[in-house]
Subunit: 347 residues, 2 copies
Amino acid sequence: MTREPYGADHHTAVRRPASIKDVAAAAGVSPTTVSHVLSGNRPVNEHTAARVRSVVNRLGYVPASLARSLQAGSTSVIGLLIPDISNTFFAELAKGAEDAAHDLGYGLILCNTEFDADREDRYLGMIRSRFIDGMVYASGSPPSRRRLEALMGKFPIALADEEVEGLEGALIASADHEAGGRLVGEHLRSLGHRRALMLTGPRALKSSVARASGFVRAFGGEVVERVGDFKEGSGYRLVAKLLQDGGLDCTAVFAANDLMAFGALTALREAGLSVPEDISVVGFDDIRAASLAHPPLTTVHQPAYDVGRTATAQLLQYVTRGEVPPASRHTLPVELRVRGSTAPAAR
Amino acid sequence: MTREPYGADHHTAVRRPASIKDVAAAAGVSPTTVSHVLSGNRPVNEHTAARVRSVVNRLGYVPASLARSLQAGSTSVIGLLIPDISNTFFAELAKGAEDAAHDLGYGLILCNTEFDADREDRYLGMIRSRFIDGMVYASGSPPSRRRLEALMGKFPIALADEEVEGLEGALIASADHEAGGRLVGEHLRSLGHRRALMLTGPRALKSSVARASGFVRAFGGEVVERVGDFKEGSGYRLVAKLLQDGGLDCTAVFAANDLMAFGALTALREAGLSVPEDISVVGFDDIRAASLAHPPLTTVHQPAYDVGRTATAQLLQYVTRGEVPPASRHTLPVELRVRGSTAPAAR
DNA sequence: ACTGTTGTGCAAAACGTTTTGGAAACCTAG
DNA sequence: CTAGGTTTCCAAAACGTTTTGCACAACAGT
């Protein structure tokens, strides 16, 4: 019993697809001509072209993009490296990146790292092996800085919303964190607040530092700072701790992101304080839940979508020309969304 | 003035990377040997191997994965087609898919369609041009059925959470929508509710129908059905309309997803009704905002992550063997999360 | 001395395209 | 009839790997 070269083993096996040679043979022309017919790269006699096209249809021929990419020297695919796609901020950013990529006919590989350095390395390997033409990098787990630095000059990379410490010379698109902090500061000041608690994010992140400094400067009043980790639990713990250790001597809380703000809200509620009557709370990011929460959270809207879109569009501008992008900064405007969690300072 | 072949135009141009030939030449061996050294596919004299490795390092040689893929006949990349990555359900699903892909060394291309048929077509083209080895399909915009059907037998495709109407013979992973509806029915019944409003999703989606039928069967009481579109606005409008047209003659509302439930909540609140005292509300999905809302929403937790992970893992099982997956169904368990939006029926 | 066996490395084919320099045939104008 | 132009198509090279068959040497066992 002979074995067929392809398929027929069982109906589940994938059969060899038609190649350009098959089409050429069936149409009685050379592969060159088939290529020209399909690409329109050079004129072909209309009669021959029609015959080729009919064979293409009959055989269901679709050019192998791999071979095309190999020849062209680029894949029309880029990567998007982020820590956690289930975080709505990054999901929005991804959406913007995907849109920008799609507009220029590029594909986008989702590189979700879960903050895992090995995983990040593996994905960065895709750019070194030239499987992707570029990378939009939005992770910023500090240990990866060195590796990134080595790649930066050789491959097209754009930084989205992360100004990694010590990484100058990069193409960067990010929200105006400083301005966001400032808006909050002005808002609370105008409501008569003079003493506030600020829950910051990790000190290593420039964005985190910028939010805090913008706030402190604009607020003018007294600010107590506590360092969190951008997670709900840390907002809860920091506030609960303060409440327990002899009370929270302030009329407003500014958390450097919404998640921590929610944690703070829970802690305050549990302590019998009501928001915004007793104390005002402000977040940062404007995630979906912010407007749905009770009370709806006053927060700084971050243009996550635009950050992703801008970073990607900028990157592609250079990728399409086969260039490594030069240093440049694109700062996107931020907006204060005043909702129900802030009110005039209690007296 | 002569033009250099690569780079040196300006420091921004990408220079030609070292190829296996360059390495071979520099090490005084054949490309074959270099390949064997790196792949370990055949033994090579340790002395020669060391020399080759040193040249590899010196030149910073990284094999071009494109060429490798072309030769191997597969790219180790699959696609994930979804309508909207910024929807937390799909973001979770994507996370599961990405994890499963990563485990087997596969990359994942994000195909976000925004429910746009053209966009979907373009992405499906990637599988026909064999740029991706398979596709996890989670969109289900009805018009694409025919196209999908044509692909199904020829390329590896898995359906995630969408049992597209009339598309049998597929590999499917989905949550147990029917059971979810049943759980809600039982819950409300046990709280003494006898008359309920059900806000369903589009009739064309099997999942939507299953949620409703499971609910109706288990609830037993009287059910008024209204068809929505899974968006917040439709939940709001449907309830507002009913309230206006002579009152809502029921003690509970079951929305086929959380977003519509939020819309319903808003409409009820605006009408002066309080939840859950006057009327209970239940959602479906358990998106992030559900637990943060006020009152926290009772809902059915859908294992989005597992759906994505299972669909992908199953698909890859066949992809790695070069087979098209056979029909099979993987139903994942669902869980009722009882929170603050449901209470015993008012009398 | 013959026959294997093992170790080592290379040449060439193959994967499926696109691109480029001509060749052949035909036309046109002088 | 010839020089130059057009039209139409093809052969071959190139993209960068992996795989396979083979050659050559060295060495062992008989």
